[in-house]
């Protein structure tokens, strides 16, 4: 087809889909759709963004995706950016009907970005700030040499997941506390002086002593945001290095909500492309092609959970249960019925994957979908758990903290020698020892002093250390 005609057809289709989506209640930013050749889409896929700093790990991701596409092993149909206006990229060479499905899918993603609580604090002009950062990184390469910048990015990326995504909430708390204290002090000042004040002072002094001890602790409270801790307290870093770390940290804040709502977001988009495509006119051939593509999207796997399928199933189930509650649900929870649509919109606004599965992945769904947990036994991976609560909890555990180990800074001046003491909060799954031993040297290069990591192996506490020359491991 002539590209111009194709564009016209897509434009007309988009008008219909756009109107339909709004009619069904979706609420999204203004949309910029762009049709791109495959290697561009794959580049965006690998970088997660249209523009981002250069690094070989993106090249590696791009190479992998591109090779899979070239060998016809997999393909991305679309790419959508959480931004306002929202950018979405369609794959050149998709059939018209494929692109129609993608457009419907993408509008729902955008609705999710705009309305889900976990995206409230994401920067909506990340495209621009990432472009600016990539420009600065390039300057650093000129100034300090490509190899040096690359090595530094390698090191920063090795701990990039260790941020505190709830930082906004925490900041709020601190502010509240401080205000309360100020309030107290203000009240105290209003009290007139009395001869007995020294009695009260004693208590104050004692309090201060314990506060002093706390003061000496560094950090005062265990710090989850390892990236921030290093940016603020490392004596090794130069300004350009702090900038690189801050950029990587900001980008992680931006991507984190996408990671922690993968199942919901894909489920939501799949739910809506189904609804929208059902409502718009398709001829016989288009219907068949649509069905084929949709079934490809929700194809299940014995070794992994398909987020599209799981999310779709849960949303459909919620809608059904709130539309037609059982008599028990009516009595106990006061559901009147017919509230399905309202409920799914509420869920999409308030939950993330962890709470989504906790609250809405029911026994019936787990059994109907035949979900299980499996683990390695010798050379084989075997089904290990079928009990629905354990399966649900297992899935939730795998999603907690984005699926990454929860690690905090316990002491930034360990042995009174500026050493960094980290603790992995062990919850039943051991760390990959080889990876720990390879990651510590990166951390050392960022911190400049010995690094310790406490974790658990074989139910015993163990301390991994790296002093700049060699790693050691000792059971505690």
């Amino acid at each position: 087809m002539n590209p111009k005609d194709e564009l016209k057809i897509l434009e007309d289709a988009l008008q219909v889909i756009n109107a339909k989506a709004k009619e069904l209640g979706l609420d999204f930013y203004n949309m910029f759709f762009e049709i791109c050749p495959a290697d561009i889409i794959y580049t965006f896929g690998a970088y997660g963004m249209p523009t981002r700093y250069s690094h070989w790990t993106f090249g590696k991701a791009y190479h992998k995706m591109k090779t899979q596409y070239d060998y016809n092993l997999g393909r991305i149909y679309e790419m959508v950016i959480n931004s306002n206006p929202c950018y979405a990229f369609l794959l050149e060479g998709n059939s018209i009907i494929q692109n129609k499905l993608v457009m419907a899918h993408v509008l729902a993603h955008c609705d999710f970005f705009k309305n889900n609580a976990y995206f409230k604090n994401t920067s909506r002009d990340m495209v621009e700030s990432m472009a600016a950062a990539s420009e600065r990184f390039r300057e650093y390469e000129f100034k300090h040499g490509r190899a040096k910048v690359e090595l530094f990015i390698d090191a920063a990326l090795s701990i990039q997941e260790h941020i505190e995504p709830r930082i906004m909430i925490r900041k709020g708390e601190e502010l509240r506390k401080r205000r309360q204290n100020e309030h107290k002090r203000a009240n105290y000042a209003e009290h007139p002086e009395t001869p007995y004040d020294d009695l009260w002072e004693l208590e104050e002094v004692r309090k201060d002593a314990s506060a002093d001890e706390k003061e000496k602790k560094f950090p005062k409270e265990p710090e989850k945001d390892l990236m921030l801790f290093i940016i603020e307290h490392s004596k090794e870093l130069e300004d350009w290095q702090r900038d690189i770390m801050s950029v990587i940290r900001q980008e992680m804040f931006y991507f984190w909500p996408q990671m922690e709502t993968k199942i919901m977001n894909e489920g939501w988009a799949t739910y809506w492309h189904l609804r929208i495509m059902r409502d718009i006119h398709l001829d016989v051939n288009e219907t068949i092609e649509f069905a084929k593509m949709h079934s490809g999207i929700i194809q299940t796997s014995r070794t992994r959970i398909n987020p599209y399928t799981l999310g779709l199933k849960i949303f459909e189930d919620i809608e059904k249960r709130w539309d037609n509650p059982t008599s028990e649900e009516k009595e106990r929870y006061g559901r009147s019925g017919g509230e399905g649509k309202e409920k799914i919109f509420e869920v999409r606004a308030n939950e993330n994957d962890v709470s989504f599965l906790r609250n809405y992945l029911t026994k019936e769904l787990i059994e109907e979908m035949d979900l299980y947990l499996y683990k390695k036994v010798g050379n084989e991976w075997r089904v290990d758990e079928k009990d629905w609560e354990k399966v649900r909890d297992g899935l939730v555990a795998g999603l907690t903290n984005g699926g990454y180990p929860y690690i905090t800074v316990q002491n930034g001046d360990y042995n009174k020698n500026g050493e960094l003491y980290l603790k992995h909060h062990y919850e039943g799954t051991e760390l990959d020892v080889y990876y720990v031993e390879k990651t510590l040297p990166y951390l050392y290069s960022l911190w400049g002093h010995t690094i310790h990591l406490e974790t658990v192996l074989d139910n015993k506490s163990v301390l991994f250390s790296f002093n700049g020359e060699k790693s050691s491991k000792k059971f505690m």
Binding site: F32, S54, E161, R302, L373, D432, L453
Partner: protein
Amino acid sequence: MSGGDFVISREDWSLHRKGEIDRERHREKVREAIKKNLADIVSEESIIMHDGRKVIKVPIRSLDEFHFRFDYGKQKHGGQGDGNSKKGDVVYADPQKGQGKSKGAGEEPGVDYYEADITIEELAEMIFEDLGLPNLEQKKKPELASESVEFKDVRKKGIASNIDRKRTIMEVIKRNALRGEPGLHGITPEDLRYKTWDNTFKYESNAVVLAMMDTSGSMGPFEKYIARSFFFWMVRFLRTKYNNVQIVFLAHHTEAKETTEEEFFTKGTSGGTRCSSVYKLALDVIEKRYSPQDYNIYAFHFSDGDNLVSDNDNCIKLINDLLKVCNMVGYGEIEGAYYYTSTLRTAFKRIGNPKFTSVTIKDKSGVYPALKKFFSQTQGEAIN
């Protein structure tokens, strides 16, 4: 643009090369990593035993993106059955080492290290970059193999059937452009260009590798594998230097015989070892089939060194005879599970000829240093 709240467009993306640039950087890193690990990669089973596949997978741990992560093998993962899954069902079985991946893509539970794809040729190039030319003297009277015709000149006069169309058209365009009337029109006789040939002579250079191996009872599969890896690269290396490389397999215990490649690497016999037998056979083969006048001869012998002590003097004498006709003679001793103090290697220390090399290989990673030692540049220079 329609409706005010969406735009759909198509841009020219042909200059967008970001992905390609970083991909190239990644590829560079893969090559660096491979070079650093050549010693381990050279004797990778998947390469030596490769069944004619052009592309092989090389695990490269240094290109993993290290971070704190859970031990994948100790974690429980979620999956979805077809409705009847039971506790204990096998979801996936890891392929056995050495076998290809049996299942379709997408079913294996997370690859936990990075594998780079690389062709045997690329790998060979990297390995040989470091290896010098050992005594690659061209034989004095190279065989005149063939006279051939090579088109390598362009002239203004020639035979009509040999008109070089592309160059002729270029001339037309050039001339028109110079006259200020660009375009392809009006071919004149001055524009015509003809391809012209030269007679050239092609010299064949020949090399033969005499692969000798002890197949007595003490040479197990490991020892044979080491020998196999060594010969694999040796032949490949010589092929880059000579038009024609042949390989002759000579196996021995107390007696020697010529075998097929298959027998050479798989069959074993029991009994004692008399290395002189195979040197004698090698001299025989050279005399009958590979005249040192026409062939560059490379003899290499692998053994565990457990030779009959009474035979050692004879071996030294025969090695000296071999050195007179060969470009190089090598002896590789593989230290397997057994270790003998009185070995052939000790005896060979008496040979002072720089064309003779003796190496000891303890494990798989010893193959690469052995190759390097055998084919090192300095040795080649020492000969002249």
